[in-house]
Symmetry: C2
Subunit: 104 residues, 2 copies
Amino acid sequence: MQLLSGAWTPNIIWYLSQGSRRFSELRADIAGVSAKVLSTRLKELEARGILTRTVAPTTPPSVEYELTPLGGELMPAITAIVDVSHRLRVKSREDAAISGESAA
Amino acid sequence: MQLLSGAWTPNIIWYLSQGSRRFSELRADIAGVSAKVLSTRLKELEARGILTRTVAPTTPPSVEYELTPLGGELMPAITAIVDVSHRLRVKSREDAAISGESAA
DNA sequence: CCGTATCCGTTTGGATACTG
DNA sequence: CAGTATCCAAACGGATACGG
């Protein structure tokens, strides 16, 4: 079950699901990820056929990453995770608000 | 996004979704998990409100683990992952069969 | 039966510096 | 811009032994 293993992996797929992105765009999208880790994940995902890497021979070079159809098949799992984690965040805030109410 | 982080975590939730289980039952269900890791995961999940731990004061002691409603909310994500990984396995076998066809 | 304590190898991923 | 190379601390998790 290391299908989505690796830090930031779900994030990468999530952002690519909204369209192809360049390396630096992904770095900006995913605040906190280092170039090393992003590069590592992208290579893994490319090797697994989840995404494609396309180099435009411009100066400076531009590299586009894009989900493959296979990568698209991961979306239900990704959205389910995003959805749950979103609801859990809301819940945590509600709980925090409740415990804070007596103090407030 | 380490919502389902930790080895065996999805497995634990998966088996508990089918009903409450004892510690040794989970160990048997999830072949390969060590007592240490299982114990660690269960404690984490309990702390996060994903499951409950109930001790029956018998001899020898018996401990039941059960998903909370909050834990139940994780099921869509779990099943989505299981589902996708299942389809990907099938795909891999098909691909292997295709590449093997010329040799066969 | 249900764990915990300890030791320890492996892996992970962040920081930083550097290249084409 | 798009990475790679290196170093390194921390986390992970398996094996084993032991406690309530």
